[in-house]
């Protein structure tokens, strides 16, 4: 197992290198530079700035310099926020995104898996439960999160004043954004879980369990769930990586000091080191999340371990 993890982590290095290189090339192809503004800077001032940030060097040299600093763990200074390093910005903003992302992830798992199981089980006797939850699921998948967020703010903050409409000052501020983020993945998971659970329920080994007289709870949650949840695990890896690195739209609407907004604003500002920094963090999260998914597979299914 340890050898497997190490191998996968080593594979992550060329992946990150490729991501860094492609991002570096693309962002320099895009026209417009970090210091182009409505007020054109005098040439001597532009020269000072370019010298300070090594932007006067050839691109190949900037690229090598960047990779060299990256190896040393230095993500460079932000151009837009002078005096702040990209590491400062990520350290300051990543925690809020992680908190919100984890909460949304847990919510979507609970709601999605729960609703999926209930739908699957109640399909036989109680069709309205199944129908309602699947209708909600279709709504969840098809309503964009910013529309849902706006509706939640309008109803739960503006009209009924249950939750604050925005800002980031305590747990109650996380509820609306987390719900907005969780709705779509929860709905998707509910549908997947329902389908997967229903097909498992028809398996012979479950009939054997029933025949042996095992308690229903143990049959459903020990024997059926373990096999039915595999597609959810597959989906969860990239979902978790996406959620904890933050969502531009949700952070923007709720004014949350997270990392997600920099995926867009850094590009608008052509803040090259910040673009590189957040992209690399995201890539690291994806690599790690996929690794965790693979580890979970092997825990859930002994056959994977033997391969």
């Amino acid at each position: 197992m340890l050898k497997f993890i190490l191998k996968r982590l080593l594979w992550g290095i060329p992946v990150l290198w490729a991501v860094a290189t492609i991002t570096f090339i693309i962002m320099h192809i895009v026209p417009g530079g970090p210091f182009d503004e409505e007020k054109q800077l005098p040439p001597e001032i532009m020269a000072n700035i370019e010298q300070k940030y090594y932007l006067d060097r050839p691109l190949s040299e900037q690229y090598i310099l960047y990779l060299w600093n990256l190896l040393k763990g230095d993500l460079g200074p932000s151009y837009k926020y002078p005096g702040r390093t990209v590491s400062d910005i990520i350290t300051d903003t990543f925690p809020a995104s992680i908190e919100l992302g984890l909460l949304a992830f847990i919510l979507s798992l609970l709601i999605g898996v729960g609703a999926g199981i209930i739908s699957a089980i109640s399909r036989e006797q109680n069709t309205w439960v199944d129908k309602t939850s699947m209708m909600l699921a279709i709504g969840g998948v098809s309503i964009p999160h910013f529309v849902l967020a706006t509706l939640l703010i309008l109803i739960l903050s503006h009209t009924f004043r249950v939750f604050p409409p925005a800002l980031w000052e305590g747990w109650q501020y996380a509820i609306l954004p987390a719900l907005s983020l969780a709705a779509a993945p929860a709905a998707y998971m509910a549908r997947v879980m329902r389908a997967s659970f229903m097909s498992i329920l028809k398996e012979d080994y479950l009939r054997t369990c029933y025949a042996k007289g095992l308690p229903v709870r143990s049959i459903l949650f020990k024997h059926a769930l373990k096999n039915a949840i595999t597609p959810i695990v597959t989906f969860s890896g990239p979902l978790l990586a996406g959620l904890i690195t933050g969502s531009f739209v949700i952070e923007y609407i709720f004014s949350i000091p997270g990392m997600g907004k920099y995926f867009v604003t850094a590009v608008i500002n052509r803040d090259y080191p910040l673009i590189m920094g957040v992209t690399i963090v995201y890539a690291v999260m994806i690599v790690l999340a996929n690794l965790i998914v693979d580890i979970l597979y092997s825990l859930l299914d002994p056959r994977v371990r033997q391969r």
């Binding site: 182009d36 409505e38 800077l41 001032i45 300070k52 002078p82 005096g83 703010i153 903050s157 004043r161």
Partner: protein, 480 residues
């Protein structure tokens, strides 16, 4: 970004203006009045300023604010290694641009010198009449050498930073919120507010929701919301020293003919803009905005469709016939789109000319302006300092902000002469003539309107009086 040598964004500058004071500051009518300086003398040739500092101004750590702190701040601003975007504010100081560009290595040759603790001498390369307005700008505020050197890049963090203004920095959550606390030792007396919190909110409708649910006391209105709040008793509006214009590339046919440019400007009824944008924008045909000395609304080409058609005919395009395909380019944003579509319709209606529209992402647009200036383009300008020079020198021949490729020696001469002219009436005459060249005769640009700030302010907030530079002195504000 609270390092006042480096800060350029409006949020940082708004905070700095309330935790720091410089030699001068603007009153409600944008006249520079004494702040840390209790007064100043100008030499007869207008090139030497002697600022006399108050002895009662202290930094928040108890040390006195001295002339040496100003000298250090100015030298740091101009040091090429600081790479400040606003270093050019002091380019009228002797040897400043030479030092900033690296041609001159010795900072002691700069025209700024502390003669003693309370006397600052400034030598200028030319007599600049509006220099006391420059010293009201944040980039020129004093700096503590010991603090900057001890903490490096982190000197502006709470706990490290020392300030001399009515408020001190209590808490700073980067890109999220800042909390200021009253400075009981402020030389002008402790402000009436105990604390002020600023939130950095990117989405203006979010800010408005917070205002409505009681989370904020002052908020700027998103353009879309203005019509619904216009008649609200908490609605506040004031003009800004910010102009919105369309420029022509005078080197590209058909706009190399000034009759065509005049026709394009005369074909526009500027009354349409406040009706479209609904923010109380002030239609303008002249370039110097209302609120600045030498503002003259009688300058500029009036709406005159017949005259416009006649000029177009003279230029060889009677009834718009044979007019080449032209594209007007602007940066992507809803306001710009509405204006561009209206201009397109008016040019079609009044000149029978089809102008195509092209919007580009902001930085892409700026690159296009630089490398291949479109025949017609949209830009704006906000005042750095409330003097007409700041608007008029944009279109001088060697200005980096003149994207029109237009060069006019007489215009250059008039603008240059107005900088050193001591008499305000004399200055106004020079600017009137220059504005006529700019907006009536040569027309490299057509001004469209002046922007306005739209705000909501809770009724219990008193003393809140933003000026046309959008500076808010929170020391004058209280809660009832």
């Amino acid at each position: 970004m609270l390092d006042w040598n480096l800060a350029t964004d409006s949020i940082s500058i708004r905070v700095i203006e309330n935790i720091m004071e410089g030699l001068t500051q603007f009153d409600q009518d944008l006249n520079p009045v004494p702040a840390v300086a209790k007064g100043w003398k100008v030499s007869d040739d207008g090139r030497t300023y002697i600022f006399d500092l108050r002895e009662t101004v202290y930094w928040s750590d108890g040390k006195r604010v001295t002339a040496q702190d100003f000298e250090y701040g100015w030298k740091r601003l101009l040091d090429p290694a600081t790479a400040s975007q606003y270093a050019y504010f002091l380019y009228d100081v002797d040897n400043a641009s030479e030092y900033n560009s690296g041609q001159l290595k010795d900072p002691s040759l700069l025209g700024v010198k502390a003669l003693n603790d309370t006397t600052l001498q400034v030598r200028l390369r030319r007599p600049v009449v509006y220099f006391p307005s420059i010293t009201a700008f944040t980039a020129t505020f004093p700096l503590r050498k010991d603090i900057v050197e001890r903490y490096g890049d982190r000197w502006t963090e709470p706990g490290n930073i020392v300030t001399n203004g009515p408020f001190t920095l209590r808490e700073w959550r980067h890109e999220y919120s800042l909390t200021l606390a009253a400075n009981k030792d402020y030389f002008g007396g402790r402000p009436r507010l105990d604390a002020v919190r600023f939130y950095v909110i990117g989405e203006s409708t979010t800010a408005l929701t917070l205002y409505e649910t009681g989370g904020l006391d002052i908020v700027s209105l998103p353009p879309l919301a203005i019509p619904s709040y216009k008649n609200h008793r908490e609605y506040v509006q004031h003009p800004l020293l910010r102009g919105y214009y369309y420029g022509f590339n005078v080197e590209k046919p058909p706009f190399n003919d000034n009759r065509v440019r005049q026709a394009f400007s005369m074909a526009i009824d500027r009354k349409a803009f406040p009706e479209i944008l609904k923010g109380g924008e002030l239609p303008a045909t002249s370039w110097i905005p209302e609120g600045m000395p030498a503002y003259n609304p009688s300058v500029g080409l009036r709406f005159n469709p017949d005259g416009a058609r006649a000029l177009l005919k003279e230029a060889g395009y009677a009834g718009g016939a044979g007019f080449p395909a032209v594209t007007a380019v602007f940066s992507t944003n809803p306001e710009n789109l509405l204006i561009a579509q209206n201009l397109q319709a008016q040019w079609k209606k009044n000149l029978n000319i089809n102008v195509m529209l092209d919007n580009q992402e902001w930085k892409v647009f700026l690159k296009t302006l630089q490398n291949n200036t479109p025949p017609v383009f949209r830009l704006g300008w906000g005042a750095d300092y409330p003097d007409p020079d700041n608007f008029m020198n944009l279109f001088t021949s060697n200005s980096g902000n003149n994207r029109t490729h237009w060069k006019n020696r007489e215009y250059d001469r008039l603008v240059e002469a107005a900088v050193v002219e001591q008499d305000m009436d004399g200055r106004k005459k020079l600017y009137d003539r220059a504005q006529i060249i700019l907006t009536e005769e040569d027309v490299p640009i057509m001004p469209l309107f002046q922007n306005v700030q739209n705000l909501m302010v809770k009724p219990y907030v008193k003393g809140f009086r933003p000026n046309a530079m959008d500076i808010i002195h929170l020391k004058d504000v209280w809660i009832e």
